[in-house]
Amino acid sequence: MKISEEAVFRWVVIVAVAAVSVIGLTLLTRPLVGAIWGAVLVCAAGWRGYRWIACKRRES
């Protein structure tokens, strides 16, 4: 695992794109819909992170 500014910058772009989708959905519909979509994205990111850590543990 290489932690560098490059890797962190990739996360900034991912978070920014996710935030744009939440903002767009909120402005088009209602804040509740945007909040639910944001929660779904956070859960998906958490699940993906958990899977990634589990995969790294199996490798080492």
């Binding site: 560098s4 500014e5 996360w11 900034v12």
Partner: protein
């Protein structure tokens, strides 16, 4: 005592003296690990403020949020968000430049990042002046100024770090090797963290 020291000195002339070498991981250097642990502690600090914000929002449960008569300048804060996000791109450009040995690009990227960060802070202070409510106005005023002020303080610290990095860049301190530009890489990681935190603050406080 003295003779014992001399004897040890003669017997192990080539051995390492002084404190033992620090343990190091082959995966991550000490400085990067340090900034990552610091950022984890900062996430917890912001988490406490967000917990207070959501607690207030759920407990008060007003028909509209922000509660009447508060109004937030969503568009201006949106432009400010764009400014801060673009500063992440400029600091990334600065680091990419120094990785290729381009010192002029490094300086340009750092100066641009500093200017964008300073613009963000200036617009935020200007927003505070024109908001029409203070931190003493109900719970909403308190938590609004606490969250955005906490973030503003982090931007200020980030600007200080960037100032040091910029001065060092103009003195020719950095090089293309990874160990030779840690003084830009670590402020860069911190700056990205500040950027991500603002995106979360903006979406939570101004949009949702």
């Amino acid at each position: 005592m003295e003779s014992a020291t001399v004897a040890i000195g003669h017997g192990h002339a080539e051995e390492h003296h002084g404190p033992p070498e620090a343990h190091e991981s082959s995966r991550i250097d000490r400085q990067t690990l340090g900034i990552l642990l610091f950022i984890v502690s900062e996430v917890m600090l912001f988490g406490a403020f967000f917990a207070a914000y959501f607690f207030l929002r759920v407990v008060v449960d007003p028909p509209t949020w922000p509660p009447e008569p508060f109004e937030l300048p969503v568009a201006v804060a949106g432009i400010n968000t764009a400014i801060l996000v673009s500063s992440s791109f400029t600091i990334h450009y600065a680091l990419e430049a120094i990785r290729r040995g381009n010192h002029a690009g490094l300086k340009l990227g750092l100066v641009l990042t500093w200017m964008l960060g300073a613009s963000f802070l200036f617009i935020q202070v200007n927003e505070y002046v024109h908001l029409g409510f203070s931190a003493r106005d109900l719970g909403f005023g308190s938590i609004f100024y606490s969250l955005t002020g906490l973030h503003g303080a982090h931007v200020f610290v980030g600007l200080l770090l960037l100032s040091f990095a910029t001065i060092r860049a103009f003195r020719g301190h950095f090089g293309p090797e990874a160990k030779d530009h840690l003084g830009v890489e670590l402020p860069g990681i911190y700056w990205h963290f500040v950027d991500v935190m603002w995106i979360v603050v903006y979406v939570t406080v101004y949009i949702l």
